[in-house]
C-alpha cells in the first residue's frame, strides 16, 4: 500500500479513536502487510445475504428485465518488451524466420481488451547424447537420439517446433566432460541441420556452463540464439558479455522467487544487456509438484510488468517438460491408467496452466503437447465474427441430447 494511503488511514483511525474516547486499540495488531490484505477491494466472511432482495411484485415480472453488458476494459501503464529469437539473412543470420515473443499489453488471452501481439512459441528438447527419457517420449525419438542434428530436424519438420532447445549435457564433468570447443561444434552442426532458431542449454554445471555458452555464442555469432542460462550461481557476466558481443538472448534463471528474479534481471541490465535480450525463467514446477507456486509467480510477474515495474517486463520461459519429473507422468500404475496417455497429458496440462498464467516460450518434450498447444493458441488468436458466436455451427446448446451414452 502506498504510504499516503496508510497515513490517511492512520489519521482517520486516530480521529475515530478520539471521537470514541476510551476505545482500546492496543489489542488490534495490524501490520502494514496485513493492512494491504485487509484493504483489498472486497473481503468477507462466508456470509450469505439474507432476504435483501428488491421487493418486486412477482406478477409484474412477465417479461425479462433488460440488461446491457459492456466489456470491462482496463488500461495498463506498462508493457512487456518484445524479444526476437533467431536472425534471418537480412539480420545477419541464416534462420528462415524470426520468432517473436512477449510484447504483451494485457494479461494472457484477455483478448476482449486487446489481442497481445505475439503468440506463445514452442521449443522442443534435444540432447547432445542419448539420455534416459520417459518411455512415452523416447518412443518418438529412438531413431534420432544418436545424432542431435537429426533429432533437431525431427522436432522441426515432423513435430512443428518453432525453436529447438539443444541441451549440451555431455559437457558435465561427471558425464562426458566434453570440451566447450567440441560442444560448440555440435551447435554448428545443428544450426546447419535446421533453419529454426536455437536455445542453447548447458548441463547445469556452474563452472562449465559459462565457458560452454561462451564458445557456443561465438560459433553461432549473429544467429540470435537463446543462451540458457545465466543465474546468480554461475559466471553470468561472462554469459552476458558473450551475448552482447555475438548478438544473443540470455535466459535469467531463478528458482521460484519474484524478488530474486527482479534482482537477477537488474544485475543483467546493469551489465548493459538490453531488456530485449532477456527472457526470464522463474522456474516451472510440475503439475502436482509445486505448479501452484508457479501459477502465482508468473501471474505476479506479468502483472507487475504491466503495472509498470520495468525490471520485470521481459517475456517468460516455461520449461513445461519439467512435468516429466512428476511420477504420475512416467510411472507404471494400474490405478492411474496407461502412462502412454497420462504422461503427455501431464505435460499438456502443465503447459496450458503456465500459458494461462503468463508464459511466452514453452519447452516441451512430447509431440502431442506441441500439437495441442499450437491448436489452442490458434483458437485463442482466431478472429471470429460476433454473429457466429451466438449462432455457432456446432450447436453447443444441444449438448444435453447430443452427447452419446
Amino acid at each position: 500500500m502506498k504510504e499516503k494511503e496508510t497515513e490517511a488511514l492512520t489519521k482517520k483511525l486516530i480521529e475515530l479513536v478520539e471521537r470514541l474516547g476510551d476505545l482500546e486499540i492496543e489489542n488490534v495488531e495490524i501490520k502494514a502487510e496485513e493492512l494491504t490484505l485487509i484493504l483489498q477491494p472486497v473481503i468477507g466472511a462466508m456470509v450469505q445475504a439474507p432476504q435483501l432482495l428488491p421487493k418486486v411484485e412477482e406478477k409484474a415480472l412477465e417479461t425479462l428485465l433488460k440488461a446491457e453488458f459492456s466489456p470491462p476494459i482496463e488500461a495498463y501503464p506498462g508493457e512487456v518488451v518484445e524479444v526476437r529469437i533467431g536472425a534471418t539473412k537480412s539480420d545477419g543470420g541464416s534462420r528462415r524466420k524470426v520468432v517473436k515473443i512477449g510484447g504483451e499489453k494485457t494479461m494472457p488471452f484477455y483478448s476482449f481488451e486487446l489481442l497481445n501481439p505475439n503468440r506463445p512459441a514452442f521449443t522442443m528438447d534435444v540432447f547432445d547424447m542419448p539420455i534416459t527419457l520417459a518411455k512415452s517420449v523416447m518412443q518418438h525419438f529412438e531413431d534420432v537420439m544418436q545424432d542431435p542434428a537429426d533429432w533437431a530436424k525431427k522436432c522441426v519438420e515432423d513435430f512443428g517446433a518453432d525453436i529447438v532447445s539443444l541441451n549440451l549435457v555431455s559437457t558435465d564433468p561427471t558425464i562426458k566432460d566434453v570440451s566447450p570447443k567440441d560442444a560448440a561444434k555440435t551447435v554448428e552442426k545443428v544450426l546447419q541441420a535446421v533453419d529454426a532458431p536455437l536455445v542453447i542449454g548447458g548441463s547445469g554445471n556452474k563452472v562449465k556452463d559459462p565457458l560452454m555458452l561462451e564458445a557456443a555464442a561465438e560459433v553461432a555469432s549473429g544467429e540470435r540464439c537463446v543462451l540458457n542460462s545465466a543465474n546468480v550461481d554461475n559466471d553470468y557476466k561472462r554469459i552476458v558479455s558473450a551475448a552482447k558481443r555475438y548478438g544473443h538472448v540470455v535466459v535469467a534463471f531463478t528458482p521460484m522467487d519474484i524478488n530474486n528474479q527482479k534482482k537477477l534481471n537488474r544485475l543483467l541490465l546493469d551489465e548493459g544487456l538490453p531488456k530485449e535480450q532477456i527472457i526470464m525463467d522463474p522456474t516451472t514446477a510440475a503439475l502436482g509438484y509445486g505448479l501452484d507456486y508457479t501459477i502465482s509467480l508468473m501471474e505476479r510477474i506479468k502483472l507487475s510488468g504491466l503495472l509498470g515495474d520495468s525490471d520485470l517486463q521481459m517475456p517468460i520461459l516455461s520449461p513445461s517438460s519439467n512435468a516429466w519429473g512428476a511420477r504420475e507422468a512416467w510411472m507404471k500404475s494400474e490405478e492411474f491408467g496407461p502412462k502412454e496417455y497420462r504422461g503427455p497429458l501431464w505435460e499438456t496440462v502443465t503447459a496450458i496452466t503456465t500459458m494461462m498464467a503468463g508464459g511466452d516460450l514453452f519447452m516441451l518434450s512430447h509431440p502431442a503437447t506441441v500439437r495441442v498447444l499450437k491448436g489452442l493458441v490458434e483458437s485463442l488468436y482466431e478472429e471470429v465474427d460476433v454473429e457466429h458466436v451466438y449462432k455457432p455451427s456446432k450447436k453447443i446448446q444441444d449438448w444435453i441430447t447430443d452427447i452419446g451414452v
Binding site: 468477507g44 432482495l53 482466431e382 451466438y390 449438448w399 444435453i400
Partner: protein
C-alpha cells in the same frame, strides 16, 4: 462501485459499545476478526437486537463475497461453489474448489446407470493426505421424454448420495424429474433457465428452493436472466455462457469468463456475481468420437477453464488417466499460496518395525511426507520414519534454504528414545540431502546412509543394502 469492506466501514455498523459479549476485548478487535473471516456478524449478540436490524443487514451485505456462495445438494455431500473474492489466487486464497460433475444420460441402460453412479461416488484418489473426489452427477434428459427422465433421475438418486444436476431446457422434464423422480428434497441444481423458459424454470426453482443455472450465449442476456430471476426472489444461481471447445469460439468462452469475473469482483456488478460453470463434456458431441483423443481433449479443455474461473464443470469420461491431471490441477489451484501445507514432525512407524528395521528420514512438507509414507506402505516396508520439521519445505528446498537442521534429528531421537527402539545406529537420508551427510553424522553419532533420490526406489535400495 459498492462500498468496500474496510476497518472503518465495518466498524461504523457495529454497536460500538465495547461490551465484550462477542468474546473480544472491544469492537475494533471484532472488526479485525471479521476481516480475517474468523468471525461472523452474528457473533456480536447486541447486533442481533431489533434496533440494529438495519445495521446488521448492511454489515452482512458489506461482508458478502462478490461471487455468491451457492450450495447444491443437502447433508454431508453438499457441494459449495463460488464465494470467490479475488481475480488472482495470490491476492487471497481461493475457496470452494471447482466441483466436478459426471454426466449420466437417460438413454443409458438402467444397469449402466447404476454402475456409473456407483463408480462416480466411489471414485477417490488420495494425494498429499487429501481425499480427492468427483462431486456430483449431471443427469441429462437426452430422451426428451419427461417420464423416462423422471424414472432415470430417481434411479440415479437411489444409486448414489451425490448432489444432482438436472439437465433439460424443457420445464416439463425438469418438473417431472423433481416431482416424479422425488429428488426435490435433495436440492438439485436445475439446468437451465433460458430466455425462452425462464418463467417456468424460475417457478420450479422457487417452489422447490433449488439453485438454478442460467444459460445464454450472450452476456447481456445472461445478465437479463440473473436480474429477472433475482427480482423473482431467486438467489442461488450459476452462470453458463456456453462452453465453446472449437476454433475461435473457444476464445469467446475464455473472454467471457474473465469479463464476468472482473465485473463482479472489481466493478461490483451484482448481477454477474455468481459462480461460473463450464461443460467440457461438450467435446463428446457427435456420432463418431474416438474415446482416447476425446478423453485427452476433455481433460485439457477442463484444465483450461479451471485456470479461468470455473466453479463447476460437467465432464463425461471416467478414465482415471484423464481425470487425474484435472483433479490434481484443482488441488494445486486451491491450495493456500502463502503457507506450505505441512504435517507434524516426530517419529512415525510404518508397518510393524522391530529392533533391526531401517530408520529413514524425511521432511514435514505434506507432499514429501505423504509421498514417502505411501511409497513405504505400498512397498510393505516395516520401518521407522523420522519426520523433520523443515517449516513445511521439501527436501531440496529446505537443504538449499537452510531449514533442514541436522541437530533437530538428534532432538527427535532423544525425545522418542530412538536408541532403545533399534539396535543398530544407521540412518537412511534422502538422496537430495546427501550434502548434509557429514553434519548429520556429527550431530547424531549415527552412521548415515544416503538413499535414492526418489522414494519410489527405496524398496529396491533396501533389498540391496539392508540385509
Amino acid at each position: 462501485m459498492p462500498e468496500k469492506a474496510s476497518l472503518l466501514s465495518i466498524y461504523s455498523y457495529l454497536p460500538q459499545t465495547n461490551c465484550g459479549e462477542c468474546g473480544e476485548p472491544n469492537c475494533m478487535v471484532f472488526v479485525s476478526k471479521l476481516l480475517e473471516r474468523k468471525a461472523n456478524p452474528e457473533d456480536c449478540p447486541p447486533l442481533k437486537k431489533p434496533k440494529y436490524k438495519e445495521q446488521m443487514a448492511k454489515l452482512v451485505e458489506l461482508l458478502v463475497p462478490p461471487i455468491r456462495e451457492v450450495k447444491i445438494g443437502v447433508g454431508e455431500d453438499v457441494v459449495k461453489i463460488g464465494g470467490k473474492e479475488v481475480m488472482y489466487r495470490h491476492e487471497l486464497t481461493y475457496h470452494n474448489p471447482t466441483a466436478i460433475a459426471i454426466d449420466v444420460s437417460d438413454l443409458m441402460d438402467d444397469g449402466k446407470i447404476v454402475e456409473r453412479c456407483r463408480a462416480v461416488e466411489a471414485f477417490s484418489l488420495v494425494r498429499i493426505g487429501e481425499r480427492l473426489r468427483l462431486n456430483m452427477i449431471a443427469v441429462r434428459c437426452a430422451s426428451k421424454d419427461p417420464d423416462r427422465f423422471s424414472y432415470v433421475t430417481s434411479l440415479v438418486a437411489r444409486s448414489c448420495k451425490l448432489p444432482l444436476i438436472l439437465c433439460s431446457f424443457d420445464p416439463k422434464s425438469l418438473r417431472a424429474a423433481l416431482e416424479g423422480g422425488q429428488v426435490a428434497n435433495r436440492r438439485p441444481l436445475l439446468y437451465a433457465a433460458t430466455e425462452e423458459n425462464w418463467r417456468e424454470v424460475s417457478e420450479l426453482a422457487k417452489q422447490y428452493n433449488c439453485p438454478v443455472a442460467v444459460f445464454a450465449l450472450n452476456l447481456g442476456s445472461v445478465k437479463s436472466l440473473t436480474k429477472t430471476l433475482k427480482a423473482r426472489g431467486i438467489q442461488d444461481m450459476i452462470i453458463d455462457f456456453g462452453t465453446h471447445t472449437e476454433g475461435g469460439l473457444l476464445k469467446e468462452s475464455v473472454n467471457n469468463s474473465v469479463m464476468v469475473r472482473r465485473v463482479a469482483v472489481q466493478r461490483g456488478d451484482k448481477d454477474m456475481g455468481y459462480p461460473i460453470m463450464f461443460i467440457p463434456a461438450m467435446v463428446w458431441m457427435g456420432e463418431e468420437v474416438d474415446p482416447v483423443t476425446t478423453s485427452y481433449k476433455e481433460a485439457y479443455i477442463a484444465s483450461l477453464f479451471l485456470n479461468r474461473y470455473a466453479d463447476l464443470i460437467i465432464t463425461h469420461t471416467m478414465e482415471v488417466w484423464s481425470l487425474l491431471p484435472v483433479i490434481t490441477l484443482r488441488q494445486n489451484i486451491y491450495t493456500d499460496p502463502r503457507k506450505p501445507v505441512s504435517v507434524d514432525s516426530g517419529l512415525r512407524t510404518i508397518g510393524s518395525p522391530h529392533e533391526k528395521s531401517p530408520v529413514l528420514l524425511t521432511t514435514n512438507f505434506s507432499l514429501t511426507y505423504y509421498t514417502v509414507a505411501n511409497d513405504l506402505e505400498s512397498a510393505g516396508i516395516d520401518c521407522y520414519l523420522v519426520v523433520l520439521n523443515t517449516e513445511g519445505l521439501a527436501v531440496e528446498v529446505s537443504v538449499a534454504g537452510g531449514q533442514f537442521h541436522p541437530s533437530d534429528i538428534k532432538d527427535i531421537f532423544s525425545s522418542v528414545n530412538m536408541e532403545e527402539k533399534v539396535k543398530h545406529r544407521k540412518l537412511i537420508i534422502p538422496g537430495l540431502a546427501a550434502r548434509l551427510k557429514g553434519d548429520i553424522e556429527d550431530s547424531t553419532n549415527w552412521e548415515v546412509i544416503v538413499g535414492p533420490r526418489d522414494s519410489s526406489q527405496i524398496k529396491g535400495f533396501l533389498s540391496k543394502y539392508w540385509g
